[in-house]
Amino acid sequence: MNVVVLVKQVPDTEGNRKLDPGDHTVDRAAVDPVINYIDEFAIEEGLRLKEAHGGEVTILTVGPERATESIRKALSMGADKAVHVLDDALHGSDALQTAHVLAKALGTLEWDVAVAGSEATDSRMAVVPALLAGLLDVAQLTQARKVTVDGSSVTVERVTEGGYEVVEGSTPAVLSVVEKINDPRYPSFKGIMAAKSKPVTVLGLSDLGLDQSDVGLANAASEVVSFENAPPRQAGQIVKDDGSGAVQIADFLAAKKLI
């Protein structure tokens, strides 16, 4: 089973993340970049699929030059090779354009399942896996907390608000996983050193049969019109317990859809 893991490099959530006031895109220089947290679970799941069913794990990343660091880390964890789609014209591409690029890049690979994290910590749209499955017209098995493969059949437990659904599809399929699914491994020293000699194919737009007019901020279907900093935290609401405190707290949590 050949697995492609979609890995995004994002600004570290522990840093003071910013948008660029000029073009409203993520300011990638403001904070050190890291692998999108949930993508580490996708990498782990990809590696486990390979360990159970054979084949290869390929990392696929669309991102700027510096995304090499994240690719290297993914290879250190045990992936076999990587494809890095790198093109200045990609700057500012939205989710739909990114899915389009990923679909083209997947077309250069032999794969059975593509595994992504359920969302990225920067944009938090969580739509790319679904868009990608739609564009490729393949099974969409998203928000998985468990993945089982039997031949060409892939079954996932898909997390919902109230529990989970069992969804089955056949390969090729696009999966997204949530962080409950596994416990990502640490890169070993051996893995770190081995990653240096693993192949990373760098592809530009023209290699994918795409044109500058297909991607980039100017051609995006969606647009960040404006943004502002989150308002400072407001004083909390104090509940005085007159015997109904527990009920009031439960009502409050229910109103926020937290329970």
């Binding site: 522990e14 290297r72 640490y186 890169p187 020293f189 051996k190 893995g191 770190i192 050193m193 240096k196």
Partner: protein, 390 residues
């Protein structure tokens, strides 16, 4: 905390790390944050350590004996080993002791002085952390003067009969194999003594105020019969164990900079939020002077460790340079931890903060693997050409 770490790197030393070294450093730091830091306070307070479980985890990371080559070892550079020691010791010197005794003392001796059979048998298992080793040189009455050791081995046919005892042996009572140095009619020789050998026992030392998250033991040998194949064939005389100690001291030089960094970062965070007289205590001149002095001293320690790594990787490090590193860095780390403790005030004496725990641990590091005094005299001898203690 990571913000404090960035601020402490005044000389941008981090910028010079290559991509592999940075990923190695970040991986060990994350492992330490995930797996070690949440537990260290409990281990220290309870005076215990799940050392065998941790050895397996360190083995999976590939850091046990990483700077050795072949037999399942990784062939890392000394500088890379130093990076690992700093991140592990940033959590606790006891944890770094676990790693350095396994890799730099026990595995190093087998790699450097062992037979092919001994290497094949032990090194892959020890690199994986499935087997744990210890190193027995010090005795109750022979510390800085190991030549005064009483433990002896005499021939009996092809076998050896080992008698004596060793003291302050890290990992001793949990080890599968002990590298034991003993007098013989052929000078001082090393032997591999396996756990369970009749006449061999180990007893854990309790009631410590330092390195509480580390297993320290006494080893006892009562007519222990060893086959000829238990002897390390290529290590002869005191030079052999002292060579291993030079390896381990290198890890200390880099490691203690981690402990000092952690204490200083903790104080920097604390001073930014602790308010007295209506202002954060970080705003007071006396506090800022402490920070300036500590941060400069820390970076000097890191530069020393880096230089020794360069010399070691170039294959031309000399014993007095290792002594320079241990002499300079351990005392500086101890000073930083004590001074950082003063910034945390009363909170600094609790185990809620790592600062005094580091200082307490460093009291041991100051003494073990060549006391501060012995390293002082090695430097004195190097400078004057006169040995003060031989």
């Amino acid at each position: 905390m990571s913000d404090a770490l960035d601020r402490l790197d005044l000389l941008d030393l981090d910028d010079d790390l290559g991509p592999e070294d940075r990923l190695l450093r970040d991986t060990v730091r994350k492992f330490a944050d995930d797996r070690l830091r949440p537990n260290i306070r409990r281990w220290f307070e309870d005076g215990t350590l799940p050392a065998r479980d941790l050895a397996v985890e360190f083995g999976e990371l590939g850091v046990l004996g990483m700077h050795l080559s072949g037999y399942g070892c990784q062939g890392a550079t000394a500088s890379q080993y130093g990076l690992v020691c700093a991140e592990v010791e940033a959590v606790d010197s006891g944890l770094r002791s676990l790693v350095s005794v396994q890799g730099s003392l026990a595995m190093f001796c087998i790699r450097a002085y062992g037979s092919e059979e001994q290497k094949q048998r032990w090194l892959p298992e020890m690199a994986a952390g499935r087997a744990v080793g210890c190193f027995g040189l010090t005795e109750a009455d022979a510390g800085s003067d190991p030549a005064a050791m009483r433990t002896s081995a005499r021939r009996d046919g092809d076998d050896w009969i080992l008698n004596g005892s060793k003291m302050w042996i890290t990992n001793g009572s949990i080890s599968d194999v002990a590298v034991v140095w003993a007098r013989t009619d052929d000078g001082i020789r090393g032997f591999l003594v396996e756990a369970g050998t009749p006449g061999y026992s180990a007893q854990e030392v309790h009631h410590k105020l330092s390195l509480r998250a580390s297993i320290s033991s006494a080893l006892f040998f009562d007519d222990v019969r060893l086959p000829a194949s238990a002897m390390l064939p290529d290590g002869r005389g005191l030079r052999a164990p002292l060579g291993a100690l030079s390896e381990a001291r290198f890890g200390i030089v880099a490691g203690v900079a981690g402990a000092a960094r952690d204490a200083l970062a903790s104080a920097l965070d604390y001073a930014g939020t602790r308010t007295q007289f209506g202002r954060p205590i970080a705003s007071f001149q006396l506090t800022q002077r402490k920070f300036a002095e500590m941060a400069v001293a820390l970076q000097q320690m890191q530069l020393t460790a880096r230089r020794l790594g360069e010399l070691k990787d170039a294959g031309r490090i000399k014993p007095h340079q290792i002594s320079f590193g241990k002499f300079a860095n351990v005392s500086t780390a101890l000073h930083i931890c004590r001074e950082a403790r003063s910034i945390l005030g009363g909170s600094g004496i609790t185990t809620e903060y790592p600062v005094l725990r580091h200082a307490l641990n460093l009291e041991t590091v100051y003494t073990y693997e060549g006391t501060h005094e012995v390293h002082t005299l090695v430097l004195g001898s190097q400078l004057t050409g006169i040995d003060a203690f031989r």
